[in-house]
């Protein structure tokens, strides 16, 4: 459940970034094909790593649910701190405007 939610969020971020970068990709592909090839090669290498990440995860000897807990905790910690900061900043602005 948690991993699904996190996965949905991450996929949404990936999709948004991809949509934003599509025009840049197109421009590079059309005008600087050699750079496009280099980027594709780097990306293929990264894909290759991602495809085999299961082996590395397995080598940690941790069950899958523990991995999910760790990443969820990290995301939770970051999200809470930034949320509190954002709320405080908003209140600060509100008070400034009010006075």
């Amino acid at each position: 459940m948690i991993s699904n939610i996190v996965s949905i969020v991450l996929n949404a971020v990936v999709s948004l970034v991809s949509i934003i970068l599509i025009p840049i990709d197109y421009l590079i592909e059309q005008n600087i094909p050699s750079l496009s090839n280099i980027l594709n090669t780097i990306n293929s290498f990264l894909d290759w790593i991602i495809q085999n990440v299961g082996y590395s995860v397995d080598a940690t000897l941790l069950p899958h649910w523990v991995i999910v807990v760790i990443f969820t905790y990290i995301i939770f910690k970051i999200t809470i701190k930034w949320s509190v900061y954002a709320v405080k900043l908003a209140l600060k602005w509100y008070n400034s405007l009010k006075t």
């Binding site: 991993s3 996190v6 996965s7 991450l10 996929n11 971020v13 990936v14 970034v17 991809s18 934003i20 970068l21 599509i22 840049i24 990709d25 590079i28 592909e29 496009s36 980027l39 594709n40 090669t41 780097i42 990306n43 293929s44 290498f45 990264l46 894909d47 290759w48 790593i49 991602i50 495809q51 085999n52 990440v53 299961g54 082996y55 995860v57 397995d58 080598a59 940690t60 000897l61 941790l62 069950p63 899958h64 523990v66 991995i67 999910v68 807990v69 760790i70 990443f71 905790y73 939770f76 910690k77 970051i78 809470i80 701190k81 930034w82 509190v84 900061y85 405080k88």
Partner: protein, 483 residues
Amino acid sequence: MKKYLISLILFISIFIGFNSVDAQEIVTSFDRNYTYSSYTVNIKYSDNVVTITQGSTVSTYTITKSYFIIYWVDTHIYLNEFDSTPIWSLDRSSNYASFYTSNDSSSNRYHKGFNYSLSTVSLSSSNSLSLSVDSESRNCSNCGKLSQLISWNQIYSSTQILNSNNQIVMEPNIGMLSTPFQSQDYGNGQIGITTNHLQITSLNSSTIDCPLNTDFVDNYCNTGFYNYSTDDLLLNDRLGIRLYFNQSVPFKSLQYYVLTFRLNEPVQLEPTNVVIGSGSTNRTAVLNKYKVYNNSYNDYQLVINPNSSDNDNNINLAVDYIDILFKKLDNYDIDASNFRFGVYNSYKYTDASNVMPTDEDLEREYNSNNINDISTGSTTNFFNNFSFNSHGVSGVVTSPIRLLNSIINTNSCSPISFTFPHSNNIVTLPCLQSYLSNNLGTLFTLLQFILSGFICYRVAVGILRTIKEVSNPASDSIEVVDL
């Protein structure tokens, strides 16, 4: 400390992997019943002997090689052995399945045509790879249906044939070449048929010789792929293929002749209609492109249509299709060193746009002894699975997030196998958890329990500390986020 721990784990994994090359077998025996259509078959495998029982018929077969595949097509059960990791592949559009190995160049290649409609491919917990067939496709009423691939004795081999979209790696269809080709003064760099022999001769004078039978129906021959070098291509504008239709063998009505070739370069020829030859001897042909899912190369078929006058015995038609092909390739700046060419089949097709094997073809099982080369583009080798995708900047930028997503969602481990350079030894690194679980048993469970407990404790403490920090309304301090 963390670096040392990770290094230690990797070292242990690699050490175990190198020491377990000879201990790869996961499936050592099985005894199962399979039901398909209206019959049931029992298949047992133990001590390298396969026993297949169907009704009162009992067949035994001794496995002599490292890998084997059992499957059935309609009421026929097939068993095939391999010296090295087998790959099997299907092509939805061409009704073909093939079984072959990546690095066996001679006797271990197996091909079979099927009629199927692929619905799902799954890897079950019982170490079997199953292919669901939901319906027959196309209009080949007597074609076989690939029902199930029952087992092979090293399960990780099967996990590697699926790409990220759960599609099966496809190999273009199979080498059968019938007689209506005849050589006439073909030279280097051309292909042709001498008396009962098919030969491909390159400019460096190496020759593939493939014996042919004299009987028309049974004539088929696999030439495999042939590598042309860049020099070959540059030296001869008309290099490649010259096919001569045999004068002595009558063309049969509705007989289509098929050339299959492969381009390793990322050049895509669009399916098109072409005219071969000129004048009264010309023939129309259709260039079909295979649907190759995750291979870097492109496969094509040139289906040459029959001509009404082909029933006469006086046709002598030279086909210089390769000229047409190279004219198309001239539009691309490619390195022709990876150009591969294989002429290897000719079936009796009924429709050029819907190529399919005939019933006779479906019944053929052919282990060719004349394969000159097997493409390395679709092997299950760990390093050869590296493929190009057009993601560009967006792919690079989003790769950390995709990595994170992959870590969270990856709940399985596939053993990594690769071939040592300059050696045929396949090294397999097993998954550490499964290996330790098998060898340590309860001790490993205890180890995992302790590790998980410690991490959960740290996480709980971290959550409480975070909540405590957040719940202090008096604090205005902004902490740097500790990533």
